[in-house]
């Protein structure tokens, strides 16, 4: 599964809450409608990113997991 994206952010190795803090900063730097690809290895990143998008209103377009590596595609919606 892959999506078009406009910016990439690698949070591999980072522990909570850094992936969320860096994602927030990166999404804020996007134009409306643009997509961020974020990679994380923190096992908590899936529920955290789901909660973050649900609370902020940005869209989790898709995500995948491969051997402990999580990839998220997040669209800036506002």
């Amino acid at each position: 599964m892959s999506f078009n994206f406009d910016q990439e952010l690698d949070c591999s190795g980072l522990a909570c809450p850094m992936p969320i803090l860096k994602t927030k900063k990166a999404v804020d730097s996007l134009q409306l409608g643009q997509v961020l690809k974020m990679i994380a290895t923190d096992p908590g990143s899936l529920p955290d990113i789901q909660a973050w998008t649900s609370k902020t209103g940005h869209e989790l377009v898709g995500h995948e997991e491969d051997a402990g590596k999580f990839t998220f595609f997040i669209k800036r919606t506002k």
Partner: protein
């Protein structure tokens, strides 16, 4: 849904400083308004250059993992000179291994991202702490200022 998070931070040890800073930075990243009221020993966290020097005591801290797995060290050993430094070194080692951000880093992000850092005026007077000793961006205020913020539909947490 609550739009604010109001945190009270009263302890100045390494382990007690992480939760308020992690929750504050995460909440502000989730578009909440956040304030942390630092009072009594919590003020140690926001003294200039002090965040990464905080310590953790092994005394009366039975939850602390044993330094050597499988060998039980009596808690009273914690009172020996130097044991606080040993425990602090151990905890800093675990945090580094897990790649957890340093307290100074979280504090910096908190200030940058607009978390209100409120230093308790009364505690500062009691403990002889001056505003110049605290990091830039601190507001010095009393309980009422914090309550006024918290009263507006905030999640309130104490550490």
């Amino acid at each position: 849904m609550a739009k604010r998070m109001a945190i009270i931070s009263t302890h100045g040890s390494l382990d007690a400083a992480y939760p308020p800073l992690i929750l504050a930075t995460a909440a502000v990243a989730m578009d909440m308004e956040v304030a942390i009221f630092f009072t009594f020993y919590g003020l140690e966290i926001i003294k200039k250059g002090n965040a990464d020097k905080l310590q953790v005591s092994p005394i009366a801290n039975p939850a602390m993992p044993q330094p050597i797995p499988g060998i039980s060290v009596p808690n009273i050993i914690g009172m020996l000179p130097g044991m606080t430094a040993v425990a602090t070194g151990m905890m800093n080692g675990w945090m580094k291994k897990a790649n957890v951000a340093k307290l100074s880093e979280l504090l910096e992000i908190a200030v940058e991202s607009g978390v209100r850092i409120i230093a308790c005026q009364m505690s500062m007077d009691v403990m002889g702490i001056k505003k110049e000793e605290l990091i830039d961006g601190v507001e010095v205020a009393g309980a009422a200022a914090f309550i006024e913020f918290a009263a507006d539909d905030a999640i309130a947490l104490t550490f």
